[in-house]
Amino acid sequence: MTDCFLTAENPEDAAHAWAVVLPVPFDRCAAKAPGARLAPAAVIAASQQVETHDLEAGCDPTVRGLFTAPPPELDYVTEDAALEPIGGAVEAHVGAGRFALLLGGESAVLAGSARGLARLGGCGVVRLEGVLGCEDVRHGLRAVPRTATRRAAELLPVRSSGWRLAAEGARAFAGAKDLAGPDARRLAARPGATLATADEVVAGLPQDVWLAIDLGVLDPSVLPMPGNLEPGGLAYADLTALLAAVFASRRVLGAELTGLCVPAGDVLPAFVAARLGLRVLALAHRQRYPAGADG
């Protein structure tokens, strides 16, 4: 079994790839259920079943070289030790001009990637999440899923959309920072609904952005996994339409797919995440190589 996302083998090294995939099995204090540490390997395994020509983006993002890096060494003794390897890897790959796709790991991964992005001079963060992650501290910890968006917002401009739950403290912080974008109800396509525009999702953000997707933004019918029980999440098509709109309006430096908890015996959640990873890479590929040629 290969350790590569979407491909059978890596190019010689990351320098020979236009994009790098970084597995981040960060699992420290998930709000829902533990198990996010198993997600990167499960997504990579499922990706071997994904057909890689993205019909809707119109390209195969593996052709120009896709490099899957080994997971960073994570040390949970201190918050810094746990987050720094994530930030360092993002800084190295994005700084070298490569598109970076992180496969989490719990959604607190954003607290790490934001560090690396801030050191590169900063960019905006398009955050999509099921729960507005703007609490300050939870269980005495500052970098957990419920606080990750706030940690990023302390370093970078952030806009969070698609959420369908928000604690009072999180709302207050989001209001003070003006970072709350349209919620799930405004983003979900349904008869008679007034859809939020993509402009609202990226409002106030600079031209360069990082795309931070907590997979809990999807509806349980799309992504059935432990802890993702709250109704009213986005349909798959809602999310992919939103991604296309973000790529159309901003230069996306990289992305992260986090918050996946892999249930025993069900291949679907990891496969959905792998498909979404393909879509993100295909949209990024089309943005970088607009002529549409794969090779």
Partner: protein, 303 residues
Amino acid sequence: MARAREKIESPAPGAGARLPPRACGIVASPYEATASFVAGCAFGPEAIAAELEAAARTALRPGFAQVDGWTWVEAHHRSVVVPDVMRRDVGKWTRELLGAGRLPILVGGEHTVTAGALAAFDDASSLTVVQFDAHADLRQAYEGTPWNHACAMRRALDRGHPLLQVGIRSAVREEIDEVYGRGADGSRGLLVRRGPPPARLLTRSGLREGGLDDALRGVGERIYVTIDLDVLDPGCAPGVGTPEPDGLSFWELLDALERVLAGRTLAGADVVELCPARDDGRTARLAARLAAWLGTAASAVER
């Protein structure tokens, strides 16, 4: 549906003449040799048989599930994994049903079984295959065999059948290049190959954006419908071996089927890739409803 699980012999020669002209026969093919992700579709026909009994008792709407008197034929044993044997046996029973004046509905098994049913039709160029599927299934070969379920529609093209593909959302570049021409990418929703044989591919987005009428332009009068259950969304049909997000809803599929059949003759059909190991019962019921719909309501679609 009198006796679903046991093998029922084909009607005696001439018996078909006394049957209603659109009476239906089901050919069960529990064939599974190349499922590449989750195994178990060999048990699909058995699950559909059980649900057809229930579907026959509860009509979804008038004319939907009048399945009394249908013939159920088990084409081969579940242990058959040799494609030549499967194609021979499925082809033989499909021909028997056609000869008896019955509409053949094949239930799988993996998508490779479609090749067996199509072998029973002599004039391929006058029978358009309409495929509902998440995957293009156009590979020349996969994992060392041309009889892989990822090659099912390529084999139909090889026989000379015109092809319409609907709801496709997964493919590899080589198969699209080889069938639709280098550089065809699907981002506009519809791919067209002039042929021969001609082919069209309507993507999932293309269908959602109302592209079916365009795609149907030029499709012939006689059609064979093949439904890979993974065309449906895993939320309503989880019991498939290769689930793909962003599929059709049940009603969306029925609406599309009605539009495909309007003004055309259904010569045969199949429902394939049910994987009971991933199912909680709802996909088997849905597959049974589709089989019943194809066998009965299809003839009632306004022509």
